[in-house]
Every structure is written in C-alpha cells, then in structure tokens.
Amino acid sequence: MVNIRRASQVFFLCLFMVIFLRTTLVGENSTGPLATFFMDIDPLVLISTFLASHSIMPGMLLALIVIGLTLLLGRFFCSWVCPLGTIFNAISAFRGGNLAEKIRTGSWNRWQKSKYLLLIGLLVAAIAGLQVAGVFDPIPLLYRTMATSIYPAFAWGADQLFTWLYLADPGIGPIRVTLVSEPIYSLLRAYVLPIEPVAYDGGVLIGLFFVLLAVLALIRFRFWCRFICPLGALLGACAKTSRIELRNNPEACNDCNLCVLYCHGGCDPHLTGKWKKQECSLCFNCRHQCPSGAISFEWKGPGTSKQIVPPLPPRREKKEVAKDNG
C-alpha cells in the first residue's frame, strides 16, 4: 500500500509540475484542457467561491468527486494527491530532533484543531463576501509560489549560469564545457525555461511566506498539513463519515511507537481506540512500519466490519524503539 501511495504522490506532483510548465504561450492563443485541473479538483476553491460569489465555473464541479471520495474513504487527498503535502513530506524528512522528540511531536496535538478554526473563519468571511480562502488554500498557494517565486528564481539562476558558461567558455583545448552545457541549455529553453526571465515584485513576500512554511516543516512533521491547512480541515470534517477505520490490535502491539514516528497526519495510530479519523490521511505508514503486524484497516459497514487492508506479517526482530510517554 505504501508503495502505491508513494507512486501516487509522485505522479500527482509530476502532473502538477508538467501542467505548470505547460501553462504558457506556445504560439496559438490557447492552453491545454488540463491547465486548471488542480484548481478544479480543489473542494475549498469550489466551496469558498460559491459562498462568496454564488456562482461557479463548470470545471470546478470536479471537486465534488474529491468530496464524495473523502466522505466514503477518508482524507486520502492529503497523502495521495496534494502536491504541497508531498513537498512538505519531503522537507519534513530532514526535520531535526532525536527519536524521542520526534515521537512526542508525531502524536496528535490539540493545536491541530486550529486549522478547523481557520477554515471556519475563512468560510464565514466568504459568506460575508470576502474571498481570502485562496491565500491559505494549498493548491493556489503552491501554484502562486511556484509562479512568482520559485520558477522565476530557477529561471534567473539557470540563465545566469548558462550565459556565463557561454561567454566565459571555460575548458582545456578542444574540451570545452559548452559542449555539454549548450545542449542542456537548449533542452531547458525548449521545455522548462520561460522565453525571457520573468520577475514579480510581490513574489518576494510570497516566497518568504513559503520559506516560513518550509521552516515549520523542519520543526514538525507536515506542520502545515496538521495545524494550518484549511483544505485539510475541510476534508477532515468530511472524513468523519468515512467507513474506513484503523484497527490497532492491542495484543500484538509492543509500544514501539514506530507508527507514530512515521505517521503523516498525526492521528495517533498507536492509541488503540483513540485513533483520530479526521486527522488520518491514509498514508499506511503505520501498517508498513509496524514490526508486530498490529495495524490493519477495516471497512465498517452497518453492523459488520470487513478487513480490507490486512496487517503485515510480524517481522522477526521486535524492536523497542521508545516508550510512549502518554
């Protein structure tokens, strides 16, 4: 499961980047049909725009599919689709702290409720006609940061580098760096770089905002996703009706807390019976990491429950990584 989930993350992140790069003028006055795909599937864009303006664009109805799947399956979007989530995932892998700290901060924190409060504030403001959800919505946030900050910075850097290499022409005898750098530059110019370097005054502030969030991700695993993201909050609220439940078998569990260490959403997979469904983003890391095969996932129908993701077989060495401090 974990590998499928990772593949899904990579796929959607790559799709996001490809759509981003291709949203540009090629020659004729049209963009491809996928240009607005990620905004279209974003439920917060749909809901806040509708509340504020009482109208929507037809493409935005795709978000209803995401809402529907979330009501049924849970908050999968955050760990399977969201490109910003994937990026913070990667950044958080480098977070500091020793093992005990990471386990302590990996557990559910009551401040994770603040994203719901932010969501409520944004939705009330939308009803009153102030549409600022986009400032905190992860998809617009990532796109706007890429467009006004990361991409221009990359383009400028690449341009400076390849221009210097072209003009300075370093090398020894017939072996010149430009033999390698020029083809690379041509490839970049054809598929990645803008036609001219672009610059956005407001991009500095937008970039700094993103840097702040990246720093937070280095302090806590997926800080944004757990504490701030209003889309995560919206999907978490929808996830309450989900039929999928995590089951932690207390007889098998050895309190190693590896599940907490790798948990994406901060949903307390180690606390039998106290797992927080609306914080779980179905990353399946807990099941994957559990050495004793204590974690499984069930589909809870009316009256019945069926195991849909069975636990992994226990691994031979039982690790006692650290005790939970409660």
Partner: protein, 310 residues
C-alpha cells in the same frame, strides 16, 4: 552613354520576348546580369491558395531574372534569411513578410546548394506569437529551413564604425554567416514615412534599439553598410498604406502584387517608395544609404528587368 542606351533597348526588346517565353533575360547573353528585377502578377485573385501560388511564382521568376539563386549562393553556404516577423499579425494584414515568399527563397537557396538556411528576426511583439501567426515559421520549416528564436546571449556589442552609429548590440550570427538575404515587406511608418529594406535591419539589432529613432535614417544606413545584404527581396504583394508598422485594419492593406529583387538595396528602396506615390528619394534612409555609397536612388538607370508573371 550610347553604349548604355543601346543596352537598354536591347533589354526592353528581349524582356518582352522573355516574358512570353518565361525565361529571364539573363539567359540571353549579357556582359553583366541584371541588377534589379521587378516581377508583377498578371491576374491577382483573392483566394488564399491563389495568393500563395502567386507569391511562389513571383519569387521564383524575380530571382531567375537576376540570373538565378546560384548567382548569389554558392555550394555549402550558410545562409541567413531576415524577413520581417516583427508583429503579431496574420499575413493578410501585411505587417510581416509574406510567408510563401520566404519559403520559396529557402527552397531556392537549397536548390542552389546552400548547406544551411536559417530564418529569424528579433520581433517587437512576443516572438512565439509572431513566428506562428505570420505563418513564416511553418512555411519556412516545410522547406527545410532552421527557424529559430534569437538567443539573447548572441547580441554582442559590435563596432559598426559608422558616421552616426559607432557600435551597437548586434546579432552575431547575422554577421558571421556566409550569405545574407534581406526580405522585408513594404509598409507605412510614421517616422521614416515608410519601412522598406534598410529599416528592416532593425531586426538584427539588440536593445536599447528604441533609442535609434532619435536619428533613425542615418543610424540604419550605417547598419546597412556594416552588414550588406547579398540579396534583397522586397515583398510588395500586399502593402500597408496607413497605420504602419503594426497595421491591423484590412482596409489599410492594398494589393500591389509586385515583388522586387536585386543586390542594390538603395535602388529597391527607391523603387518601393514610388509604390506609395512618393518620390524615390523621399526617405531619409534611402538618401543616407545612397550618400554612404550603398547604391543608387535612380533605379531606372540600372535597367530593371520588368516581368509579367502568370
């Protein structure tokens, strides 16, 4: 004088004969091949395919009348064709060079043995749009040309050494290629009155070229002297009579169905000026270029070959 008159009579007679037979007078023995050919289309049509055919035939015949492209291009040459691809306009709006004229020139270059034919311009509007909407990218690529966007890094300060322009950022590829073909379209222009062959060279200059307007005629003449063209082809199939050089209104476009080719950029400029009902020496670019010795304003004195093409 007598010698020249005799030659003119001879030319006129043989030109008439040549038009019927469809051969250029250059074939019928000369001491020197003609310096300027003016090709007119006999039966202009509105149909786009007919205009395409007209553009191709006019270009072929005009170049043939000069003695064929092999008079200008040698085997293995790297050729740079510089059309006007400056504006985000369709061919019918007469702001850019006719794409089929450009494509035919590409073909003729390859037929004459050119090793490489490259087509480019430094446009005023977004180059991705101008190259596509002018139709030039597609038409030239179909004939095998390398159509490319100019590389910013290749605009280098070049010592032009002119009386008015000492140095300017210029596209180095245009200077370093073997042969240069300048193929503009005839248009109205507020500052120079018209933009014809000499002003077309703006497209090989880098920024801040928007300052050149403060002394445009003399500056462009200096550039024309620094990078002389091996062949100049003036597209007057459609001319832009007002609101140039951008145009946009089809009512400002007039069909003249003429193509002029030759090596004397001044003479072609002078002739092109007359198409707008103005005296041949009206433009400051023409006068300055003539003063620098780039050619003669009195184009009739070059015994232009006039062809009716069908």
């Amino acid at each position: 004088m007598l010698h020249r008159l005799t030659r003119r009579e001879f030319m006129e007679r043989s030109a008439k004969g040549a038009a019927v037979v469809g051969l250029g007078p250059g074939v019928l023995l000369q001491e020197q091949p003609p310096k300027i050919a003016i090709a007119s289309w006999e039966d202009p049509q509105e149909d786009p395919d007919a205009i395409k055919h007209e553009a191709q035939r006019l270009t072929e015949e005009a170049v043939k009348a000069l003695g064929g492209m092999s008079r200008f291009i040698s085997g293995g040459d790297s050729v740079f064709i510089k059309p006007n691809i400056g504006w985000d306009r369709l061919p019918a709006q007469a702001a850019n060079t006719n794409p089929d004229v450009v494509a035919t020139l590409v073909r003729l270059c390859f037929e004459a043995g050119a090793g490489k034919v490259r087509v480019s311009d430094h446009p005023c509007n977004d180059q991705r749009r101008t190259f596509v909407r002018s139709g030039i990218k597609k038409a030239a690529e179909e004939e095998g040309a390398e159509v490319f966007f100019m590389d910013r890094r290749k605009f280098r300060d070049v010592t032009i050494g002119g009386e008015n322009l000492r140095s300017w950022p210029t596209y180095t590829d245009y200077i370093e290629c073997d042969k240069r073909i300048n193929v503009p379209i005839a248009k109205h222009h507020s500052l120079t009155s018209l933009t014809l062959t000499i002003k077309n060279l703006m497209g090989i200059l880098g920024d801040p070229r928007n300052r050149l307007h403060q002394n445009l005629g003399p500056a462009m003449a200096d550039v024309a002297k620094f990078v002389p063209s091996d062949l100049v082809v003036l597209d007057a199939i459609r001319i832009l009579k007002a609101n140039g050089p951008t145009g946009g209104n089809l009512q400002d476009v007039e069909r003249r169905d003429i193509l002029v080719a030759g090596a004397d950029t001044v003479a072609i400029n002078a002739y092109g000026t007359t198409l707008f009902g103005m005296a041949p020496d009206s433009l400051s670019t023409t006068r300055e270029a003539a003063r620098l010795g780039l050619g003669t304003i009195d184009f009739e004195s070059l015994d232009p070959v006039r062809l009716n093409v069908s």
